[in-house]
Subunit: 167 residues, 2 copies
C-alpha cells in the first residue's frame, strides 16, 4: 500500500469537531476534543467514536459506561483547542469552560450548542484507538440552528489549514 | 429523550459521501451510496461503516470479507444518486459507471477520485445498520486534490437542502 495514497484517501473523510466527556465512578472527569465520530444505526440510535486507548477520556468513559458528546458550533475553535490539553477541573470549570452534569452524569459543556448522552453498549478494542459504541439515551439542543444542523457544526478544516487527525 | 433534540443533535454530524462496494464469493456485485463513515485508528488503519443490515451491499461485503470505499468528489452528486438505486450490472458497468476490480477484488469506480480497499476485521451486529470494521489494506488516488483532501469530497449537504441520513 502506498503510504501517501492512504493518507490522502483517508483525509478525504470530512469531520466535525466534538468534545467527548465522561465522569468515572471515582468522580474523575475527563474531556477531550475528538473528530472520529459517526452515527451507525437509527434503531436504536447508535454512534461510534474512535477514542485514544491510552487517554484519560477513554478510561473515564470505560469505567463510567456513559459519555457525553458535545457538539461544537461555528466559531468555537478556541474551545476545541482547549480540550486538546489534559483535563483540568478548576473553580468548578473544565479547562476553563462552565459545565453541568447531564441525565447520565456525564459532563455537558454549557457553551455547546447541542449534546448527546450515550450509554456505552460495546467497546471494540482494536488498534491504537478503540471503537466506543454508544446508544443515544439523551439529547440536548441549547440553540436550534436556523438552517441545516450540519452547517452549524465546527469542522476539522476550520481548525487550520494544516490540522488533520486521520490518514 | 426529546425526539426533535435527538434529530437535530445527530444531524449536526457532517458527512462525506461514498460508494461502498463489494463482490460476493458467487461473483455478485453490490454497491451503495453511504455516509456513515469514520476512521477509528491509525495503527492499524481502521475505518467503520454503518451498513444497512438488510441490504445487498451488506450481504456482499459480509460474504466477501473485503470491500471498497469509493470516495466521491465535488460535483459527483449524480453518481451518488445513481447508487441510491439497487445495483445493476449492465454492459460491464455498475449502475452506468465504469469500474474495475481492486487488489482485493472489490469494485473500484473508475470515476472515483480516491478509494480505499478494506479487509473486514469484525462486524458488530447491533441495530438496523451494522457496524462494519475494516482494516485499510490498499489505497488509490486517481487525482490528488490540490488543497485539503477533505475540501475535495462530496458532502451530504451538497445532495440537496432536505437530504439527510441520520438523526
Amino acid at each position: 500500500m502506498d503510504a501517501d495514497a492512504k493518507k490522502i484517501a483517508l483525509r478525504m473523510i470530512p469531520y466535525g469537531i466534538y468534545v467527548l466527556a465522561g465522569r468515572g465512578p471515582d468522580g474523575t472527569i475527563a474531556a477531550a476534543t475528538v473528530n472520529w465520530v459517526t452515527q451507525t444505526a437509527f434503531a436504536p440510535p447508535l454512534v461510534v467514536v474512535g477514542v485514544k486507548a491510552d487517554s484519560q477520556s477513554y478510561r473515564a468513559i470505560q469505567s463510567a459506561g456513559v459519555f457525553a458528546l458535545n457538539m461544537l458550533g461555528k466559531g468555537q475553535e478556541g474551545l476545541a483547542f482547549d480540550f486538546f490539553k489534559p483535563t483540568q477541573l478548576e473553580g468548578g470549570k473544565l479547562n476553563g469552560e462552565p459545565f453541568h452534569a447531564g441525565t447520565t452524569g456525564a459532563p455537558i459543556l454549557d457553551n455547546a450548542p447541542a449534546c448527546i448522552e450515550c450509554k456505552v453498549v460495546e467497546v471494540v478494542a482494536r488498534g491504537d484507538h478503540h471503537i466506543v459504541i454508544g446508544e443515544v439515551v439523551e439529547a440536548h439542543v441549547a440553540k436550534a440552528p436556523p438552517g441545516r444542523p450540519d452547517d452549524a457544526t465546527l469542522e476539522m478544516r476550520e481548525l487550520g489549514p494544516k490540522v488533520f487527525y486521520g490518514g
